[in-house]
């Protein structure tokens, strides 16, 4: 069963045609990695799904059409988003960032499970989010997306710009989150993709050029051909 079905998704930003009819499925309770070189339209795809860019085509979440809905209603339908640059609210405290994200007034259990996953957020609850380290800000961004009951989590380059130790921490957290949620993950860190992804979609020039198993990432020539990077070590 697919949680998300994307058909012929087009996005134009001003005069630039960024997505040229993207088609792929995101299976329920699995992690799907969206891969590709820089600038091929991965982040735009996530923003198109979320309605942050105006788009045409079809995006169905468990059979419900999302195209044409305002972003806040798409989010309320169960689409949670962890953006590329975290986009935490730097002038709000950690607690305020989380309180803002929580759509339920009685959500104590969700807060407790967040604090269990990221104990540091509890100790830094009154600290301004803008003064946190990059890794801590990423924890806030992930925690914010997990506070509500979601159908799918869209995660955009969660390890971008993080120190290696923090990459491991964030990867551990995502692996834990992935156990219980459908996830569409844009990520350049292939080790993380291989660790948590069940399904791989590769994009090039605004189109999907491959859908398949993450085992392909073990093949250096496939990685070089598809992603333009060296890699594929076992």
């Amino acid at each position: 069963m697919n949680a998300l079905v994307i058909r012929d998704l087009h996005v134009k930003i001003n005069e630039s045609h960024i997505l040229h009819g993207v088609n792929f499925d995101v299976p329920s309770h699995k992690v799907t990695a969206l891969l590709g070189r820089n600038g091929v339209g991965k982040s735009t795809t996530l923003k198109g799904i979320l309605g942050l860019y105006s788009s045409t085509g079809s995006v169905q979440l468990n059979g419900q059409e999302l195209i044409g809905m305002p972003t806040y209603k798409i989010a309320q339908s169960g689409v949670a988003y962890v953006p590329e640059d975290r986009e935490i609210f730097s002038t709000l405290s950690v607690r305020e960032n989380l309180a803002l994200a929580s759509r339920s007034k009685t959500n104590n259990a969700a807060f407790e499970s967040i604090y269990e996953l990221f104990p540091e957020l509890k100790t830094r609850a009154i600290q301004l989010a803008g003064s946190l380290s990059g890794g801590q800000q990423q924890m806030v961004a992930i925690a914010r997306a997990m506070l509500n009951t979601n159908e799918i989590l869209l995660v955009d380059e969660p390890t971008k710009g993080l120190a290696p130790k923090l990459v491991t921490e964030v990867a551990d957290a995502l692996a834990k989150v992935a156990e219980a949620t459908t996830m569409l993950l844009v990520e350049q860190n292939l080790a993380l993709v291989k660790r948590i992804a069940h399904h791989v979609v590769v994009m090039d020039q605004g189109r999907v050029i491959f859908q398949g198993e993450p085992e392909n990432l073990d093949d250096p020539s496939w990685v070089h051909q598809m992603l333009g990077v060296s890699g594929g070590h076992k």
């Binding site: 806040y72 309320q76 953006p83 002038t91 803002l100």
Partner: protein
């Protein structure tokens, strides 16, 4: 010394009037990116409705009647602001040039309608007689109305702070000023916050309109002009989206303008423009504004 105190406190009183205009302008621009040239018409509507209420009581009002006129004037201006937002601004989000044109149009229409109806001459605002008395502060005789301006601005600042700090809509507004797309992406309809901000901005401008009418010795469709310009200067110096920044800038400008006018007759406006240029050169985001990504 008493002259120094007198000029200082009357300057703060003038700054209080600027703040009442600027607080709404600042929040509306900070949250929605709307450069609202119709804001002066909110002030005018508030002033006329306040005048209508106050004039029911004759040539002078008691303090409770004057407060009632301020509140009703503020509410009327807030509702008018909400109407403008719902009818016009909601259709023009992210179309900045169109917003500027439409809001300038609203200001012209409101001015013309009120001018055609009441005429452009000043009509004396029936204020409490107490306003004509003086309060002794450190030997300086301070006109009592200045104290009311300052108290109203401080009340509004505290109310604004409490709303932004302790309520969910305040949390949404603060987050929306920083990144409204992300607020939407969290499943929150940020446009409800837009409407709240328009109402609150209109309310503050309407209350300001009643006080400006007293300060200017009367109400007329033209009273908003200078105050709107000063409101924009306050917003730029204080920082777009920062209400405390607007308060600080309004007080600075009021005091500096009064001192400049006293010690260098007629140079008050010039000194304020120089201050604006200096702030833009040294700190373009304003005194308490944040640099936008």
């Amino acid at each position: 010394m008493d002259t120094f105190i007198l000029i200082g406190i009357t300057g703060i009183g003038l700054g209080a009037l600027y703040f009442l205009i600027a607080s709404g302008l600042s929040l509306i621009y900070g949250l929605m990116g709307v450069l609202n040239f119709a804001h002066g018409s909110f002030l005018t509507v508030g002033a006329f409705v306040g005048f209508w209420i106050a004039s029911k009581t004759g040539f002078e009002t008691s303090m409770p009647e004057f407060i009632l006129a301020m509140i009703v004037g503020g509410l009327a201006a807030g509702l008018f602001a909400l109407l403008i937002e719902q009818l016009l601004i909601t259709r023009l989000y992210d179309r900045h040039i169109d917003q500027a044109l439409v809001t300038v149009g609203v200001a012209l229409v409101v001015g013309a309608v009120l001018g055609g109806w009441f005429g452009n001459d000043l009509r004396m605002f029936p204020a409490p007689m107490w306003f004509l008395t003086a309060i002794d502060i450190g030997g300086a005789k301070i006109p009592a109305d200045r104290v009311v301006y300052i108290a109203t601005a401080v009340l509004l600042l505290v109310g604004n702070w409490a709303l932004l700090k302790f309520t969910r809509i305040g949390l949404i507004i603060r987050a929306g000023v920083e990144n409204r797309n992300m607020v939407n992406a969290l499943g929150i309809n940020v446009r409800r916050a837009f409407s709240t901000v328009f109402f609150l901005g209109g309310f503050a401008a309407g209350v300001g309109g009643v006080l400006v009418s007293v300060y200017s010795n009367g109400v007329s469709p033209l009273i908003a002009g200078t105050y709107l310009i000063y409101g924009f200067i306050v917003v730029v110096i204080g920082g777009m989206g920062s209400v405390p920044g607007s308060f600080l800038a309004a007080m600075m400008i009021g005091v500096i303008r009064q001192f400049a006018n006293y010690y260098a007759t007629g140079l008050g406006d010039f000194v304020v423009v120089i201050l604006l240029a200096v702030v833009l050169l040294i700190r373009p985001q304003g005194l308490l504004g944040k640099v936008r990504a």
